[in-house]
């Protein structure tokens, strides 16, 4: 059976051209970019070319790109680096409740270091209200960090509008664009942001390569101290093949983005319209302001991990925000933040499409998904309704 990959928000395969571009840097061009002789020079020039290509994808200057090993590292760097660089001005930070764990847990770390953090609520679509950002900014605010697009519910935030408010107040603004760069056009100038996180494997580049965009003139303290790599802002011998891969992936994405978007939108819309024909299936996230290849739902009366596993048996790979599907056995904070009750959040399921997704695959999916829902509902004691159990509390040891 052919496998159907519908979890592109988790990661993507390497684009074949990316792998070709990377290979020489595992083999003959293995030099350390700091070495002064020829192999070092070749490696250094490759990194700088990758930096230029990566910058071009987001309409930035090459010197504004700091390569990191992951989106999580870039988010840690942004929050801690700005907090420690600007703490003399104030110790207040604003984030939303629908951030990635790498932002939320960095914020919690900073709270333990004596910073105050405001966690902004979102509406039922997961949208931050720019007016709430304005109200939350005080004299001591040094950083606002709002996720660009949610990997769980697909909602795209009004980043340009929020950044205008934040910049008017003279506060540094960071956005986590891990789920947006590669899926929608992202332009640092029109967004008006100071810092931005993005990761290569979200746009068919390698894992282990990501970047923090830092607008020229923004003061930031390093997360990793050591040598003079990345202008002294991120020490450690560069992962040359991965960085080269990120550059190549950025170049291809800039070339192919419009085509990719046009490819996935009708497939996504077909999934959504078919799924919403099923009784008691709810779309999560914004119906229009959402990632082009992103369809996310909660299905009443059944549990997400069971759905995910049953789909996997049918050759379809997907994701869920249910408690049982997480290693921590906790429901997704994003679903709770958009007002989905805990018992309904258990029925979360997320499908994300990519350039390899075909019409035939979506046709098969659209036939299979309702079958799996009715099969699991046959097994469920709640297929006729929740019988008041939704008000239960959960004290059982997880």
């Amino acid at each position: 059976m052919n496998k159907i990959y519908m979890d592109h928000v988790a990661t993507n395969p390497l684009h074949p051209e990316v792998l070709d571009a990377m290979m020489p840097y595992f083999k003959e061009h293995f030099g350390n970019p700091l070495s002064l002789y020829e192999p070092g020079v070749i490696a250094r020039e490759a990194i700088e070319a990758a930096r230029a290509a990566t910058a071009e994808l987001i309409n930035a200057k090459a010197k504004e790109i700091i390569f990191t090993a992951s989106g999580a590292e870039a988010n840690n760097f942004a929050l801690k680096g700005i907090a420690f660089a600007h703490q003399n001005k104030g110790k207040h930070i604003i984030v939303s409740k629908v951030e990635h764990h790498s932002v939320l847990n960095s914020a919690r770390f900073l709270e333990k270091q004596g910073f105050a953090v405001t966690y902004l609520p979102v509406d039922k679509y997961g949208m931050v209200n720019p007016a709430d950002v304005k109200k939350a900014i005080i004299d001591e605010t040094i950083l606002v960090s709002i996720i660009h697009a949610s990997p769980e519910i697909g909602t795209i935030q009004p980043i340009a509008e929020i950044s205008k408010i934040v910049k008017e107040k003279g506060v540094v603004f960071h956005t986590d664009s891990t789920s947006s760069v590669g899926n929608i056009p992202v332009d640092t100038e029109s967004l008006g942001i100071d810092l931005m996180t993005f990761a290569a494997h979200q746009f068919y580049g390698p894992k282990g390569a990501a970047a923090l965009y830092v607008r020229s003139g923004t003061r930031i303290v390093p997360l990793i101290y050591g040598g003079i790599q990345e202008g002294g802002r991120r020490a450690g011998t560069e992962n040359v093949p991965a960085i080269v891969g990120m550059g190549k992936a950025a170049e291809i994405t800039k070339r192919d983005l419009d085509k990719r978007i046009a490819h996935v939108i009708p497939l996504r819309d077909s999934i959504i319209s078919n799924a919403l024909k099923i009784d008691k299936v709810i779309l999560t996230g914004h119906p229009e302001q959402r990632l082009p290849g992103h369809a996310s739902f909660v299905v009443e009366y059944i549990e997400g991990e069971a759905m995910l596993m049953m789909l996997a048996v049918k050759g379809i790979y997907s994701a869920s925000g249910s408690a049982c599907s997480s290693k921590a056995l906790k429901s997704s904070p994003v679903l709770i933040s958009i007002g989905i009750p805990v018992h309904l959040a258990q029925g979360s399921v997320v499908f994300t499409l990519g350039e390899s997704t075909t019409t035939e695959e979506i046709k098969y999916f659209n036939e299979t998904f309702p079958q799996i829902i009715s099969r699991l509902r046959e097994i469920s004691p709640y297929a006729q309704g929740w019988e008041g159990t939704e008000d239960s509390t959960c004290t059982a040891k997880k």
């Binding site: 069971a306 596993m309 049953m310 408690a323 049982c324 599907s325 429901s331 469920s380 709640y382």
Partner: protein, 123 residues
Amino acid sequence: MYSEKVMDHFTNPRNVGEIDDADGIGEEGNPVCGDAMKIFIKVKDDVITDVKFKTFGCASAIAVSSMVTEMAMGMTIEEASKITRESLAEALDGLPPQKMHCSNLGADALHKAIEDYRSRQGK
């Protein structure tokens, strides 16, 4: 992550359903926790002659439910009351450690059904 036996019982669960004139009904868990199970037993001469289940939960919760019904079928009440979480997990060739507590409701639900049966018998 799951054993072949878990996947077998998850994809082809045995004894799914309800028994309208059950002699004992047991319920364990709730949907807020993520797993909930309802088990129905029919008893004749102290022997479980029929058993059915309905479960809301992850793959292992469904597999455990299916396995407990298969094990309890034909057992005496006394024997069935000795089924434990551990013996169930063992019969399924093991469960992932994080699933041992939350989704392993089968034995508890069965014991509640037996309790219900006994109280109806006035025993």
